[in-house]
């Protein structure tokens, strides 16, 4: 009986020792957890981002957690970041520059790094540079189409209108009105409108026989307060052939449909919405859309992973930077055909500009030859012509 007890005690002791030792023996590299604060919780862009990041998880040994940030509520953003930190995130990618200083304080307290995506952090850049861009926990940001006043989106709209006129000489666009979001939320949209007008004036001076009339941007009728355009817009802009919507077309197109002008009027818009391809180019009103490449999120991701793994690029800038990525400018049927092979529409990771192996090669901790310049260079090659 005694010997049985001894044997049992020995077995239990061995089991305990084995149980304690096993995790150490079987330990493998810890999975890094990255929180991603997006600007909405559904839609093609969100699905594409999740598909792209999901395809990188195994190759980078990373797990992604998602949340939605607010573009009006600073307290909500801080709470969301606190939740990500509490969930064990080692790094966070944010799409909003709201409450950034307080968010960085939370990150510093927890030893978590922060980087930006789809946002130029312009408010922090202009008003709080030292506390944000010089903060060791802020690693930089990438904005679609260039940061703040570097962007030349107004010129893109002009080029698209001219290309349309060249394609359809029998029914050219001769009269245009514009729409923008309010300056407090999108401070550069009005400057894009001014860029468009500037280019049209140059064009009219050189081509008086093909002159394009642009209705001046009206504070009262052309600034959409994040609600659909009202149908009196067409009475207030009589005789227009097209609308240049520097804000999202989803605020304009439904009104065009309900007003019965979607078959006769053209729309040049920023932003892509699910299903727009059915009414694009020769099939409908949309003649231009601008899409942000989801793969641009690679920039903040690589910076975060390098930092978390304690490695830096040899040419890493001393302070955090904001960089602009190229955009997918779609303004013809041919462009749309290419766009349909992008991850943005197919949601297939194999359609992305970068494969998991490409991203691994961009990280300094996996590839000693990787450079910051190489990472920045990748951002410039995400245009419609780069789609395979």
């Amino acid at each position: 009986m005694k010997s049985t007890k001894k044997v049992l005690a020995l077995v239990l002791t061995l089991a305990l020792v084995f149980a304690l030792a096993a995790p150490t023996a079987m330990a493998k590299a810890r999975t890094t957890k990255i929180g991603v604060g997006l600007y909405q919780d559904s839609g093609a862009a969100v699905t594409a981002v999740k598909s792209y990041l999901g395809s990188l998880e195994d190759a980078l040994n990373v797990k992604f957690t998602y949340t939605v940030l607010s573009n009006t509520d600073e307290a909500q953003n801080i709470t969301k970041v606190q939740e990500l930190i509490a969930a064990g995130c080692d790094g966070i990618i944010c799409t909003m520059d709201m409450g950034t200083e307080a968010i960085l304080q939370e990150c510093a307290d927890a030893g978590v790094y922060l980087a930006g995506y789809l946002c130029d952090y312009d408010t922090s850049f202009r008003n709080n540079y030292d506390n944000v861009f010089k903060n060791e926990f802020f690693l930089g940001t990438v904005a679609d189409g260039g940061c703040a006043d570097e962007a030349r989106r107004g010129y893109d709209f002009f080029d698209s209108v001219i290309e349309y006129n060249e394609r359809t000489p029998d029914a050219p666009i001769r009269h245009v009105a514009m729409t923008v979001f309010p300056a407090f939320a999108f401070p550069y949209q009005q400057s894009f409108a001014a860029q468009f007008v500037e280019k049209v004036e140059e064009y009219n001076a050189a081509n008086p026989d093909k002159a394009i009339e642009v209705d001046p941007l009206s504070d009262e009728t052309d600034i959409l307060m994040f609600r659909p355009m009202d149908s009196t817009y067409f009475s207030k802009h009589p005789g227009i052939d097209a609308i240049v919507s520097i804000c999202s077309g989803s605020f304009v197109y439904p009104t065009m449909v309900s007003a019965g002008v979607s078959n006769t009027m053209k729309l040049f818009a920023a932003g892509y919405n699910d299903g727009d391809e059915a009414v694009f180019g020769s099939k409908g009103a949309y003649q231009m859309e601008i899409v942000s490449p989801v793969e641009a999120i690679t920039y903040p991701l690589v910076l975060l992973l390098n930092k978390i793994n304690g490695v830096e690029f040899p040419d890493q800038p001393a302070e955090a930077e904001r960089r602009g990525s190229s955009v997918l400018l779609i303004n013809s049927d041919e462009d749309l055909a290419k766009f349909q092979n992008s991850i943005y529409l197919s949601f297939k990771p194999e359609d992305a500009f970068l494969s998991p192996e490409d991203v691994v090669a961009l990280t300094a901790y996996n590839n000693p030859d990787a450079t910051y310049a190489g990472l920045v260079d990748v951002l410039a090659h995400m245009t419609i012509d780069d789609i395979k």
């Binding site: 919780d41 559904s42 959409l224 009196t232 197109y253 449909v257 309900s258 919405n273 699910d274 059915a278």
Partner: protein
């Protein structure tokens, strides 16, 4: 009351609204573009019809439950979820009629589930319907990949029930369903007693569960018709945080106005007339560039509050007016 007087009193509010907005917009320089007055025109007619029809359907769904003594917060969520389901099915099949049918069936099922939870759970109506609102909202993130439906309204063939003249069909059907239930069914007629005093109604032998289930079925059909118009006019995105209640409440003004205007006729006509008048009001504000933002909210809020105060104090106003005329006669 004579028929001519009934017609006069019923049409008085929208006519006054039209004349008032005409006068106000005529005095406003923003309503002239290249010297042309933009308030009057076919755009006014189209705007009023498209907006009023949507308002009428949602308002009737709200009023059907209110008339039977319940406020159903889940109608908005049921409408959005129905719009996503029916819209996606319509998009896949290419049939607007199937969209309408699926929407009506889906609306009936969702409202029936809400009614079942209310009856079986023995919950207060507010708790039951808010709970179901949250459930239906969460489902909007799950059905059809959580993408909502954004391209149904873009298709002219599919979205016929959101535009002229197709929009009249679901609207007329919703009005017909409401009138049939209220006037041609026993439970519909007994509903008013429950609305006035639920306990007394039950004590005199009204079977509330029959009322709840039947009201929900008919209300669900109207919700489905409202969802058909909604998905034919709008991009419908997944919703959360009781935001669907906000969508529903944006159509509630014609309900309370309609109760007052309907005193001269009936509640369906009252709600329809109120919806038309409010659409004229909104169009006038749009012409003056006051259709969005803070000023629209202020003007709408003050107007609605004044209207409710006037309708609530009408008896007192009449008495005061009589006293005044008597004094004048004595003097």
């Amino acid at each position: 009351m004579k028929l001519t007087k009934k017609i006069f009193l019923t049409l008085l509010f929208p006519v006054l609204m039209f004349l008032a907005m005409w006068a106000i917009t005529a005095a406003n320089p923003a309503c002239y573009v290249n010297g042309k007055f933009i308030f009057l025109g076919f755009d006014l007619v189209r705007f009023v019809i498209l907006n009023a029809c949507q308002s009428i359907c949602v308002a009737l769904a709200i009023w059907m439950q209110l008339k039977n003594g319940r406020f159903d917060f889940s109608n908005g969520a049921a409408m959005i979820l129905t719009a996503i389901i029916a819209g996606n099915i319509g998009l896949r099949t290419g049939s607007p009629w199937l969209t309408l049918l699926v929407a009506v069936l889906c609306g009936i099922i969702l409202c029936a589930i809400t009614a079942a939870v209310y009856m079986l759970g023995r919950l207060p109506i507010v708790i039951a319907t808010i709970g179901m609102t949250l459930l239906y909202e969460s489902l909007t993130y799950l059905v059809f990949g959580g993408g909502g439906i954004s391209n149904f309204y873009q298709n002219d063939t599919l979205s016929i029930f959101g535009h002229l003249p197709g929009i009249f069909f679901p609207t007329a059907l919703a009005m017909g369903i409401f009138l049939f239930y209220s006037n041609c069914t026993v439970t519909g007629r007994k509903g008013k007693i429950l609305a006035n005093n639920q306990a007394a109604g039950v004590n005199i032998g009204i079977w509330e569960e029959a009322n709840v289930s039947q009201t929900s079925m008919f209300c669900g059909a109207i919700v489905g018709l409202a969802a058909t118009i909604y998905v034919s006019q709008n991009q419908v995105l997944p919703q959360s945080g009781l935001s669907t209640s906000g969508i529903m409440f944006s159509y509630i003004v014609p309900v309370y106005m309609g109760m007052f205007i309907g005193l001269a006729s009936n509640d369906v006509i009252g709600i329809s007339i109120a919806a038309i008048a409010m659409a004229i009001f909104n169009y006038g504000l749009n012409c003056m560039n006051l259709g969005g933002g803070g000023w629209q909210q202020i003007i709408m809020g003050v107007f609605v509050m004044c209207f409710y105060t006037f309708s609530a104090q009408l008896d007192n106003i009449k008495k005061a007016f009589r006293r005044l005329t008597k004094k004048e006669a004595v003097a």
